[in-house]
């Protein structure tokens, strides 16, 4: 992958992504992905979340581009009960680092805390984001977004209804 990339540009891109998610502009968020883009959440409590493969390990989420779209379609429906009405979220991104690049794209890691407020309850998801970003028309695009949760068990929601 040729072409320089600056941390400031990456940070602006990730903050914009976080804002789209917080504003539930999921149709716009979806457009940030390349046609072969993937959104992955490995299982919690494993030591190789950064490299685990959804083809042989049970992930929490392993969406290809089609299923990213289906996830967005579902989450915008009233019949997606677990997110109706939509919870309030705040996606916070820190510790952004450029981790080199190869044929698949630019590797970026970041820390995240995503807060979810719903029905008198605050839940905070904590973990690391691993991105593969590529140059696209007018900016950057996501080829892979892997959200590795730091939890050892799924609590207290027992599930993962929002996009990290």
């Amino acid at each position: 992958m040729k072409g320089k990339i600056k941390r400031e540009e990456v940070e602006d891109f990730l903050y914009m992504e976080a804002r789209l998610l917080d504003e539930w502009r999921l149709e716009d968020w979806e457009k940030l992905f390349t046609d072969d883009g993937r959104y992955l959440v490995p299982p919690v409590g494993i030591s190789n979340a950064d490299s685990a493969d959804p083809a042989n390990t049970l992930f929490l989420i392993a969406d290809d581009r089609t299923r990213i779209h289906q996830r967005v379609v579902r989450l915008m429906k009233k019949s997606a009960h677990a997110e109706y009405p939509h919870s309030h979220t705040r996606h916070c991104i820190t510790n952004v680092e450029l981790r080199g690049h190869d044929d698949s794209g630019h590797r970026v890691s970041a820390a995240f805390t995503t807060h979810r407020i719903r029905r008198r309850e605050l839940i905070t998801y904590v973990g690391q984001l691993l991105y593969t970003l590529v140059r696209a028309e007018g900016g950057l695009a996501i080829r892979e977004k892997r959200a590795c949760l730091d939890f050892d068990v799924l609590a207290p929601q027992g599930g993962l209804t929002l996009i990290l």
Partner: protein, 436 residues
């Protein structure tokens, strides 16, 4: 049988009116701390509880730690191939011994005073710490690891029982054994737990998850968005409209429903969405089933889907993926659950990928259906806790003379649920024997 009771004995909190065809459960069974305490002391101390699958302990020395029925356990496999269950506490002062979720070892040392135990036999091995103790210290095994009273397996599914006098697992399983066979027969080389099992905690009474797991009635309403997703990929058929099947009680509180639904299964029902490359692989599996079991049983194994509950808390969903869950109450309004995905041993990588995909989209905590089930538990719990005492209705499909533990109805009816509640009511009511 009296008009308003289920079976003898009864708590009085489950009521049957055979004239009005009404089966109702007092909602305090979901909220009362006293009921919660009695459930722990009776149901979870006397019934067989699923603890793990043989594929999780393949080699001698393999162990795993897990909390079953509220007790921290170590499951191990010894050199003779036998699986044992020990309580995960040092016999000296009670410290947790094994702190890893799984591993392979001959011995385990307590972090506190260093007592060492052979993890296959449970024997206290360490001599160094024994100065100051009498010469015959532990000759009677008092300080060996404490074993769980009973551990037995059926088709590689291991269950424990904390009651030494319990009937055998096979007797206990009653009609549920037939359905475990249908699940296990999918593979000649056996099933295996796939890496990435989940341990989760969520609001809601544990019985809400149990009921939800073998309730086909809620599917079209609660999971509308999931079925709409399925419709986008399965050759434009209406998934809800094509379902048909039955539900039934299997004795001792166990139950199941079984349906025909053309949504595709790695063993062994091909659909176009799986891709042409998968077609010959799946057809070969189907042919293998035909050879082993004949066409009729092979068709049932391969193309029907079943949700099985083994009383009190084991759920096996053999639908587009294969999942196993157990649930345990942490309070009247809080549950914890283990969820595992299973596949066949030596499964073709493409079929394994399809299996996990199927699993993820529905059953997974980040899937398109299960999160809405959890939402329903939270909504039920809220409604039960924050409105005046009332009854929950479980009458759908009831018939006048039905045998509650073995009733049968349409798969969208609630016969299998009445069987579970009738057994719950007997046990909490003080039944002398668990088996009926």
């Amino acid at each position: 049988m009296t008009k308003t009771q289920t079976l003898e004995p009864s708590t009085g909190m489950v009521q049957v009116d055979r004239e009005r065809l009404q089966f109702r459960v007092d909602r305090r069974t979901y909220s009362d701390p006293e009921i919660f305490r009695r459930e722990r002391d009776t149901v979870f101390r006397r019934c067989w509880l699923y603890a793990g699958h043989g594929s999780e302990l393949l080699q001698a020395g393999d162990f795993l730690t897990r909390t079953i029925g509220g007790f921290d356990l170590i499951l191990t496999r010894d050199r003779a191939g036998e699986v044992s269950a020990f309580y995960n506490a040092c016999t000296h002062r009670g410290s947790t011994l094994c702190r890893e979720a799984r591993g392979n070892t001959r011995v385990v040392a307590c972090p506190y005073h260093g007592w060492v135990f052979d993890l296959q036999s449970g024997q206290l091995r360490d001599k160094a710490t024994k100065s100051g103790y009498p010469a015959d210290f532990n000759v009677d095994g008092t300080y060996d690891l404490r074993r769980v009273a009973r551990i037995e397996a059926y088709r590689d599914f291991y269950f424990v029982n904390f009651d030494a006098g319990a009937e055998s697992l096979e007797q206990y399983l009653a009609g549920a054994a037939e359905y475990l066979d249908l699940v296990a027969d999918q593979s000649e080389s056996g099933l295996e737990v796939i890496a990435g099992g989940q341990e989760l905690y969520t609001p809601g009474n544990w019985k809400l998850l149990v009921e939800n797991s073998y309730d086909a009635y809620h599917g079209p309403a609660l999971h509308r968005s999931y079925f709409e997703f399925l419709d986008t990929r399965a050759s434009s058929q209406n998934m809800v409209a094509t379902q048909r099947g039955y539900g039934l009680g299997l004795g001792n509180g166990h139950g199941a429903f079984e349906i025909e639904l053309n949504s595709g299964r790695p063993v062994a029902q091909w659909i176009a969405a799986f891709g042409e490359e998968a077609k010959p692989k799946i057809e070969a599996l189907k042919e293998g089933l035909n050879r082993r079991f004949g066409e009729s049983r092979a068709q049932r194994i391969a193309e029907r889907q079943r949700n099985l509950i083994i009383f009190p808390n084991l759920v096996i969903n053999d639908n587009i993926g294969l999942s196993v869950r157990t649930v345990y109450p942490l309070g009247p309004d809080k549950l914890m659950a283990y969820v595992w995905a299973l596949g066949t041993r030596n499964e073709d990588p493409l079929l394994r990928k399809i299996r996990l995909d199927n699993y993820l989209t529905f059953v997974g905590p980040g899937g398109f259906a299960t999160p809405d089930d959890f939402e329903a538990f939270a909504l039920c719990q809220r409604g039960i806790d924050f409105t005046p005492p009332s009854w929950s209705d479980i009458s759908k499909g009831m018939t006048k003379d039905e045998d509650l533990l073995h009733a049968k109805g349409d798969f969208t009816d609630e016969a299998q649920m009445r069987g579970w509640w009738a057994q719950w009511d007997r046990i909490l009511g003080g039944a002398k024997r668990i088996g009926v």
